[in-house]
């Protein structure tokens, strides 16, 4: 049909990418259950490191507290343990260990002793690696996704960074947007 062919030129197929437009969570399609049971565990130091990592991703600003205050450091290992299949857990854990090793080779320091500028340099490298690897699953992608999810679902993220209305009571689809107004949390 001519009409369809013409339209095909305008449109291109989006594939399964729609869900990605709702949140930063890229790995929703990796939800197939993997029966191999080798769950990783995380120490309190690991939690502290993840907390510092998340603070680099979403730091405290003048507008709102960051991921560390929102409790993302404890959230990430909990979700990795309970909600991720072993193959992704392994990718996460290996990438996590690599980041700690890089901290030593690059700065000759433990991750927790890095300055925030140094941590930012390290995370910038990880981001570049992810882009170079066509966003294949990696520690950086998973940890960043979970930081976004954890932060913007947290009480701080919902009520301080964004604005949360538990019971709006009405719907108005034509209100003025005031410059600088926060986004609704949900």
């Amino acid at each position: 049909m001519e009409r369809r062919e013409a339209l095909k030129k305008f449109a291109y197929l989006l594939g399964g990418a729609l869900s990605a437009s709702t949140m930063g969570v890229i790995f929703e399609s990796f939800t197939v259950f993997d029966p191999i049971n080798n769950s990783y565990s995380f120490s309190s130091t690991d939690e502290e490191i993840l907390s510092e990592f998340s603070e680099i991703i979403l730091p405290t600003t003048a507008a709102s507290p960051g991921a560390k205050d929102a409790g993302v450091g404890a959230f990430i290992p909990l979700v990795i343990k309970e909600c991720y299949p072993p193959d992704l857990q392994k990718i996460f854990k290996n990438g996590f260990d690599n980041m700690l090793a890089k901290s030593k080779t690059k700065f000759n320091k433990e991750f927790l002793n890095l300055t925030s500028e140094e941590k930012k340099m390290l995370v910038t490298d990880l981001r570049q690696e992810s882009i170079d690897n066509n966003k294949e699953p990696s520690f950086f992608l998973i940890a960043r996704d979970l930081t976004l999810l954890g932060y913007f679902s947290s009480e701080i993220g919902c009520t301080v960074a964004r604005e949360y209305l538990p019971i709006p009571g009405k719907y108005d689809g034509n209100v003025d947007y005031v410059t600088g107004q926060k986004a609704w949390a949900t």
């Binding site: 009409r3 369809r4 339209l7 095909k8 305008f10 449109a11 291109y12 197929l13 989006l14 729609l18 990605a20 437009s21 709702t22 930063g24 197939v32 259950f33 993997d34 029966p35 680099i56 991703i57 979403l58 730091p59 405290t60 600003t61 709102s64 909990l78 979700v79 309970e82 909600c83 299949p85 995370v123 981001r127 992810s130 992608l141 960043r144 976004l148 954890g150 932060y151 679902s153 919902c158 964004r162 949360y164 209305l165 538990p166 019971i167 709006p168 009571g169 009405k170 719907y171 108005d172 689809g173 034509n174 209100v175 003025d176 947007y177 600088g180 926060k182 986004a183 609704w184 949900t186």
Partner: protein
């Protein structure tokens, strides 16, 4: 002997209703209000209105794992996790697939909720009437059997159920989507209004866009509160603002003091009495104790969801009904349909950066079917409608660009720069005899019952329709000035729309159908089936409202016949 007689008396009712979802709730309400003593059997747990809606008032940060499913939930719910409805916030309302297995000859996603209220607690609430075009399509193009009723037969019952359930919507005088008894419509937002105006102008009103007709109350109604615009319906509504068994039909039935609800009661089969040639009751397995027991009644309403009901009927074999109760036609279990969706287009809308929304509307817009109507001819039969919405979310391209840092966080705390508008189609599926379910005796469920096997697929007509479902959406969005329009077809398997129907169809000819025009079995006069299994065709509208109307109509007939001593 006395004990047995007493027990039998104690377990005897005027009517038994199998299932407590949308149609079962209606059957219980109608039959009790007409004076019958009714036993409603539900295979799952009880869920008490408001009190048991555990996550209804939870904030996002109070939902476990911020809503992500655990590996254990994926293990125990391998089917339910295939699509979005099974969520952390209402996960206990979805069936444990391991306890209730079934056989997929071809992939069929069977979403089930076993508890009082059934899927009425989690449904999408879109409520559309079928038109005469839908009731006549089978006869006209020769697919499936002719519906034994026409719009005029069901119209007063649509009126009746809409007035009680509370459906908000806008009358449009559109031939393919009859008007109804609506509560005030919800508002379209500024972008939807603009898209509506431009589409209707572009197509010279040969296509229309209206607000979704939804079983959400826009004003208080019959003692229930109106919608608070939280958009958390699938967790249960503490205000009773959407139609469910719990909010609506169950309290009405309980008020008669004639209803007994028995949860944890799996109906294994309907007991047939060869002397009277009627059903005399049902055999139940208590899902907690595994005890079996019998209940007796003058009439039985089968409302266990399309495939649940079909299993019970297929499993009710006797000398007189060796292939399942009332299955002389051989059509029981056949002609399985669903809709097909996950196909459409979306894009961005510019020019509304100074506008935003307040509140979360649990409803979208609707473009009713316009294909194969008047001059609009297509190279496939029947057609589709669109559901959609415009919104200003908080997506920013920097998310996909893997940005991080303080500016990034502050940016994500603001709404998106532009609005998005999407249209997703729901297409009709033709009835095919070979799309079927049957009992697989090689597998057993947790209670030792055999399981259902499902052999169902979309065919050429559906595949052709999907191309138009995408490109019509592209065309309309472009006509409405939407930018960056992208078409999508995310693929669909039968079962995914959770609109399964057709496996015990109505018809005038007992050789071609299981039920007559009153949803009464041709062969067993005191058994009525009024859930989705009764449908001779699927149309493309969301079907639950039609189940409600058919149920109320069948109850009215059944009680009249009972009083005349005809059954």
């Amino acid at each position: 002997m006395n004990i047995n007689t007493d027990l039998k008396k104690q377990n005897t009712y005027d009517a038994i209703v199998i299932g407590s979802g949308i149609s079962g709730g209606w059957a219980a309400k109608e039959l009790t209000q007409k004076g019958l003593k009714v036993l409603m059997l539900e295979r799952g747990q009880n869920i008490e209105h408001v009190k048991d809606y555990e996550s209804a008032m939870k904030a996002p940060w109070e939902i476990a794992y911020c809503g992500k499913l655990t590996e254990e939930q994926k293990r125990t719910h391998p089917v339910q996790t295939r699509d979005y409805p099974y969520s952390q916030a209402n996960e206990s309302w979805w069936v444990n697939d391991l306890e209730c297995p079934y056989t997929e000859d071809k992939r069929f996603d069977w979403y089930r909720g076993f508890h009082v209220g059934g899927k009425s607690l989690m449904w999408g609430r879109q409520s559309y009437r079928f038109s005469d075009h839908n009731f006549e399509d089978n006869l006209k193009d020769g697919h499936g059997n002719d519906w034994p009723i026409r719009y005029k037969d069901i119209a007063p019952w649509y009126d009746y159920v809409e007035k009680f359930a509370g459906i908000s919507g806008q009358n449009e005088n559109w031939p393919l989507l009859p008007d109804g008894q609506f509560l005030p419509p919800m508002d379209m937002n500024c972008v939807e209004k603009s898209v509506k105006e431009r589409i209707e102008k572009h197509y010279n009103k040969s296509r229309i866009l209206t607000i979704g007709r939804s079983a959400n109350l826009t004003v208080p109604h019959l003692g229930r509160g109106n919608c608070q615009y939280r958009n958390l319906c699938s967790r249960g509504c503490p205000f009773g603002a959407y139609f469910s068994t719990q909010s609506s039909t169950l309290p009405a039935a309980m008020a008669t003091k004639k209803l007994t609800v028995r949860p944890y009661s799996i109906v294994n089969h309907i007991i047939y009495d060869k002397e009277t040639k009627k059903a005399k009751g049902v055999m139940v397995i208590d899902s907690q104790t595994n005890e079996t027991m019998e209940f007796y009644a003058k009439i039985v309403f089968v409302n266990g969801s399309t495939l649940g009901s079909t299993f019970v009927l297929l499993n009710s074999t006797s000398e007189a009904h060796p292939n399942g109760l009332g299955n002389g036609s051989g059509h029981l279990g056949h002609n399985l349909m669903d809709h097909h969706f996950r196909c459409g287009a979306e894009g961005t809308v510019e020019g509304f950066e100074d506008k935003y929304t307040y509140g979360r509307r649990p409803n979208g817009i609707y473009i009713p079917r316009y294909q194969n109507f008047k001059d609009d001819k297509r190279d496939y039969l029947r057609g589709f409608g669109y559901q959609g919405a415009a919104s200003r979310g908080h997506w920013h391209k920097e998310v996909a660009e893997l940005d991080f840092g303080g500016d990034f966080k502050d940016l994500l705390s603001k709404p998106a720069d532009s609005w998005t508008m999407g249209l997703g189609a729901f297409g009709e599926m033709l009835p095919y005899y070979e799309n079927k379910v049957y009992i697989d005796h090689s597998k057993k469920d947790k209670w030792g019952q055999p399981v259902l096997a499902i052999d169902c697929e979309y065919k050429e007509n559906e595949a052709k329709m999907r191309e138009d479902m995408m490109y019509d959406a592209v065309e309309m969005l472009e006509a409405a000035g939407v930018k960056n329009v992208k078409a999508y077809d995310n693929g669909c398997y039968p079962g995914m729309t959770i609109h399964e129907m057709g496996t015990a169809r109505m018809g005038n000819d007992p050789k071609e159908s299981v039920l007559n025009k009153w949803n009464q079995m041709h062969e067993v006069s005191n058994v009525f089936v009024t859930d989705g299994s009764c449908m001779p065709s699927s149309a493309c509208q969301n079907p639950s409202l039609t189940y409600m109307a058919l149920t109320a109509r069948a109850c009215d007939y059944a009680v009249k016949e009972l009083k005349k001593k005809n059954i």
